[in-house]
Amino acid sequence: MGSYILHQPETFFPKRLAPTPPNHSHTPPPPKPMHPLRTFRQSRLWALILKETRQILRNRQIIFLLLFPPTVQLLVFGLALNPEVTHLSLDVVDYSHSPVSRELVATLTANDTFQIQAYQPSVEDLGQRVRTGRVSTGLVIPPNFADRLAADRSVEVQVLIDGVDANTAGIASGYMQQLVNRFGQTLRQTPDPPVAIATRFLYNPGLLSSWFFVPGVIGVVLTLTGSLVSSTTVIREKDVGTLEQLLMTPAQGWEILAAKIAPLFGLLMGDVLLASAIARLIFGLPFRGNYVLFLVLSGVYIFVAIGIGILLATISSTQQQVVLTSFFFNVPLIQLSGAIAPIESMPTFFRVLSFLNPLRHYVTIARSLILKGVGLEVLMPEVLALVSFTVLLLGLSINRFRAQLN
């Protein structure tokens, strides 16, 4: 943050002096060459930044928005979104009533994927239970089950799965087939199949769903909070009319805007720290990559969020309109980012569209740095895309804001 602000007065120094009207006796005389930091501390920009910072810190609502929603969002997303397929309720209709049929049921429930809910006397009862949603899977073991197996002849069992939840049903059906097949093979004590496939899960060996969602949600949180807070501060000024007062002062447009952005940026960086603390301490995310790089790239992304906020504030004239129009930006931004639903499964049109989404690139970067631990050389395409979208968006919003000022 420091380096960003410190460079401003040096580059803009001559420009700042030029328009200073002579009738403003309170403006300081052109300073003699001094230490750059002291020059900066005496500059108008610094004074404006101080003013904005004080204004924000006094505003309880903004502090609340910076702390409360990000924490809740991270916790709820991380805890509630869980694609796990375990403890599926299973009803059994066992017409066979034999030791081997009970053994089959025991195999199915051995590893917690299926959990016996009840035994049903007939297929009709089972159907009724599935239809009313009391139970999501059913197994029907035919009466001749044990006899046929004893005679070494193959036998069918019927499996009913509630297919409303297509994704869970697909995984459940895969599990069911594997478990039943394996049981059928153990009955004959056959040798292992000639080709076995050994799966190893990289990056997230425990398949913890929070490890998938939390890095993405950090991006979502920064988008929502950043755009909300920055649009609120800008629109408030428009609403109350204090923007005109600021315009009356000798301050330049860029100074007003830079002074608004600087404290927001600092506070949102605080949100990044808060989010990484929650990710590390509560969800135990590994943070395998370079943390400084993560902070820097998060800083870049914060400018995207601020840019969206300023853009929203220039489009709308009241806070209510900001709330409504923010949906137009944030809903597609979040949904097409891969933070919640994987990008690979989207239709081609949306997959291509998502490349234009800065959040998509940030989410990829965050996941790669936190989970995979790869370096900048691998992430270069995403970083370049993120930086160019940041420059574009921030430039667009600043331009619009300045056009409105004049």
Binding site: Q158, D165, N181, V323, E344
Partner: protein
């Protein structure tokens, strides 16, 4: 009653005059419907898979062609020499490594292990990938006659998927979207309307009249219920056309559930509007909160049973959860009242509570008794 109706008419007139809000009230839900309806798919179809074939024999090539025969996997080249290079770069979600002695071992009837490295980041798809790699390996063995007949499983599970045999994900997602959209937008409009009266001071006129807080709120409730019904009609019509939803059974549970649900959403908005002190910031906050709860604690994306203990209690008082059960029943399952008789009751109870709280808050203001 007459005063409630005239309140309602006044409110509707006011709503109609605010062109921007009207446009947003109908365009926004549709935009959300389209994005969620088309972009939320949980199960990946074209999974990029890279193969490192150290054997490079006819048999290993047959195995590879079997892997890609299902259209679930798309072949991707390895960008580097390291085994994990494709996964590190994210160009592939899984890498299958075929050992150099693959065909030799198989023809010698020796067991051989093929290694599959799966990107575990996306937990759901990692499981899907594992399942289908196992299934295709099984299929390869069977189709290449590598399993001796006595090694085949004696038990043949006949899996039947009820209600959604084609496993269309839109049938699961789209009815869920109704729950999210029809909660967030009606409650937001109602909250904004109430806060606006407070901000612009027009609420003072209501204080000065002889309207009771109950009548005042009922008028608003009714007006925004009508607006919300309009929204519901538009959203559901478009969704049935675009996503091919059909009524599966008795539509009355949906009708009753819909009215109760929208009324509860409006009551929630009024409650938030009544609580929000002076600023729309509170409305912004609840727009996010409404989205969060309706999206995450309602079983919209993943199974409700997966929500861990303290949060699972919260999900019991989220009306969206019950409404989504109703819509899924109406459009997919088709059981009707026997399956979901409790859902409208639960929604009505929660909505009634919201409304009661809102009247209590307003009652403490300067309304005449």
């Amino acid at each position: 009653m007459k005063r409630v109706l005239s309140q309602c008419l006044k409110e509707l007139n006011q709503f109609r005059r605010d062109r921007l809000t009207v446009a947003l009230a109908f365009v926004l839900p549709l935009a959300v419907l389209l994005i969620y309806g088309y972009a939320i798919r949980l199960e990946a179809k074209n999974i990029p898979l890279s193969v490192q074939d150290f054997d490079n024999s006819p048999l290993s090539r047959t195995y590879i062609s079997r892997l890609f025969a299902t259209n679930q996997f798309v072949p991707t080249p390895m960008p580097g020499t390291a085994v994990t290079s494709a996964l590190d770069r994210g160009t592939a979600k899984a890498t299958v490594v075929i050992p150099p002695d693959f065909s030799r071992q198989v023809t010698a009837r020796q067991p051989v292990t093929v290694q599959a490295l799966v990107d575990g980041t996306d937990v759901n798809n990692a499981r899907v990938i594992q399942n289908s790699l196992r299934a295709t390996t099984q299929f390869f063995l069977r189709s290449s006659d590598l399993i001796p007949p006595q090694a085949q499983s004696l038990i043949d599970p006949q899996v039947r998927l009820w209600f959604n045999p084609g496993r269309q994900e839109s049938l699961y997602i789209v009815p869920g979207i109704f729950g999210v959209i029809l909660w967030v937008f009606p409650s937001m409009l109602a909250a904004i309307a109430l806060v606006r009266e407070k901000e612009q001071g027009t609420i003072v006129q209501a204080y000065a009249s002889d309207l009771s807080s109950l009548e005042w709120l009922l008028g608003k409730e009714l007006a925004y219920l009508i607006v919300a019904l309009g929204e519901a009609l538009v959203v559901m019509t478009v969704a049935t056309i675009l996503f091919g939803l059909r009524f599966r059974g008795d539509p009355t549970p949906l009708l009753v559930g819909l009215i109760v649900y929208l009324a509860a959403a409006v009551a929630f908005g009024l409650l938030v509007g009544a609580r929000a002190g002076n600023q729309t910031g509170a409305v912004q906050g609840t727009a996010i909160a409404g989205f969060l709860t309706a999206l995450l604690l309602s079983g919209f994306i993943y199974r409700l049973e997966n929500i861990p203990f303290p949060l699972s209690l919260v999900s019991n008082v989220i009306p969206a959860r019950y409404f989504i059960e109703i819509t899924r029943d109406a459009f997919v399952r088709g059981t009707g009242w026997p399956g979901i008789w409790y859902a409208p009751i639960a929604i009505a109870a929660i909505g009634g509570l919201f409304f009661r709280l809102a009247t209590r808050i307003l009652h403490r203001m300067q309304f005449p008794d």
